[in-house]
Subunit: 312 residues, 2 copies
């Protein structure tokens, strides 16, 4: 029996699953909160792998999807948001040494792109742009059937391109990045700022203002909430035109929590894209859609990474 | 004897050369002005190929570098700047039919990137960003040893990304593109506009104001001319930060006429890049340099295209 282990070190959940040589239904999956008391994250990871792996079977390979900054070439997690114990942690070397199995690491946005390409909304496409819009904005690129990594594995930071010089401050410390305007955090922040400046809204006085509550208010007709998604969609469309001019993909897939707002976000994206595109040839045969794998994109990507690395 | 024909349909010169199976020194090269009276461009092309090809030898393949919009998949030149006869011209089918030889077409910026990668400043690098800055701004990308083309061959339009929304109008009809600020044409236009608004300059009253004369005046201490290159370099640096975040290359090569201004342009580019980059990791091992092949980049690229397509 061929066994692969896929791990998704999510910000809220740590998920570990065993899969066979084919298909995308796990033999066994375990989920625990990322911030668990007691054992260290490394110890919990080993415990979960031992728990999900079929007894007496050799594991062929392990794939790991990690959020936040990693060094994929050296197999090091630089920091993992919400998993305090993992800082400058040589995950690949550590797991390989303890389990004597090949281990492969990539960031979750790249692996979600891989997952959507092979098992989700992007099947059959060889030129794919994947954008994940949640608290931040990340991405993954498939170009002529190759995942784009760059010389050191730091490529496809699609949220950190300048769309509005002197615009809002980004979490990275630079102004006017796409992430600083169109991420879920930025959508909510803009609504709060507008309310603070006296703009009327159905959200005034609400205890929580998030991209999700803004989307709900927009659907119920709140003009400020609608304007917030129109603004985010406008700059996403401008950036998407850049990405089409650079990559000329046949499909663009939006993933991440904010993409669940669906047409509320995609309508202004499409409108802005048409305003900014160099030529209709870029759009004519282009599919723009939302992700199909949802929360499973990372773990499916990690599985594919493990399988791919073994078969190649 | 193995013979390859390389053709560069430049805006001012049409160049046709015969090469052997190895090396980059032509057996025979012919150059004629692109706008010649008499025969049609198609006829002149066939005449030149016949002239340079060694008598009695079979041609293995022909590679063609074309400026302006093409459809590389269909082998069609949509329009060729300064070669009036070539509009919607099926160059590949035409040459293949007349000469019974495989013909390969790509745009000159992509082929210059290929040339610099294999035979110029980019040798030994597998992740390369090439930007050509002349009347317009074009580019070519090598990612993990693959040329980036996109689904239909319209990728790497690096001059048409928005760097300043509501900025100057671009030749393509959109505002604030990199090309509208940092191309040679745009540098000269900005200087003329500033002079028209009363800004003093050593260039006032000169019959010709071009990127070249602005560079000369800047070197002689003209503040307006220095400001023109500082401005172009600033936005090039901002865009370059985007490209590094997207591609994480190990080398960036600047080609095209404006790149001959050297450090006058590259100094402000580097300064701006440091201001805009997400992390020093992108720059630490990065080479930023000017092209090595000069005017030959296109024809060397066309030669490599012909050889590559035959060998693969």
């Amino acid at each position: 029996m061929t066994v692969f282990i896929a791990i998704d070190l999510g910000g809220t959940q740590m998920r570990v699953a065993a899969f066979g040589g084919k298909g995308f239904t796990p033999i066994h999956i375990e989920r625990i909160p990322s911030q668990s008391p007691g054992a260290s994250p490394q110890e919990r990871l080993i415990q979960l792998i031992t728990k999900v792996a079929p007894k007496g079977e050799q594991i062929s390979a392990i794939g790991v999807a990690a959020p936040g900054p990693i060094n994929p070439q050296k197999g090091i997690i630089l920091t993992a948001p919400n998993i305090p114990g993992l800082v400058n942690f040589p995950l690949v070397a550590d797991l390989q040494q303890k389990l004597n199995v090949p281990v492969f690491l990539d960031n979750d946005a790249n692996l979600a792109a891989l997952g959507e390409w092979q098992a989700g909304a992007g099947q059959g496409h060889n030129h794919l742009v994947y954008l994940t819009i949640s608290t931040g904005i990340g991405g993954g690129i498939i170009s002529a059937g190759h995942r784009l990594h760059g010389a050191q594995g730091f490529a496809t930071e699609m949220g950190h391109i300048t769309v509005l010089p002197d615009g809002p401050m980004c979490g990275c410390g630079h102004r006017g990045h796409l992430e600083a305007i169109a991420s879920g955090t930025s959508i909510a922040r803009w609504v709060k700022q507008e309310i603070a400046q006296g703009v009327p809204s159905a959200l005034i006085g609400k205890s929580e203002i998030s991209a999700k509550t803004v989307a709900e208010a927009a659907r119920q007709g709140d003009p400020l909430s609608q304007a917030a998604y129109a603004r985010a969609g406008y700059y996403l469309g401008q950036a998407l035109a850049d990405f089409l001019h650079i990559f000329n993909p046949s499909i663009v897939i939006f993933g991440g929590g904010v993409s669940r707002s669906g047409e509320l976000l995609l309508n202004p994206v499409r409108k802005s894209l048409h305003q900014h595109i160099l030529s209709e040839q870029y759009i004519k045969n282009l599919t723009i859609t939302t992700a199909a794998l949802g929360d499973d994109a990372g773990i499916i990507g990690a599985l594919l990474l493990a399988r791919q690395s073994t078969y190649v």
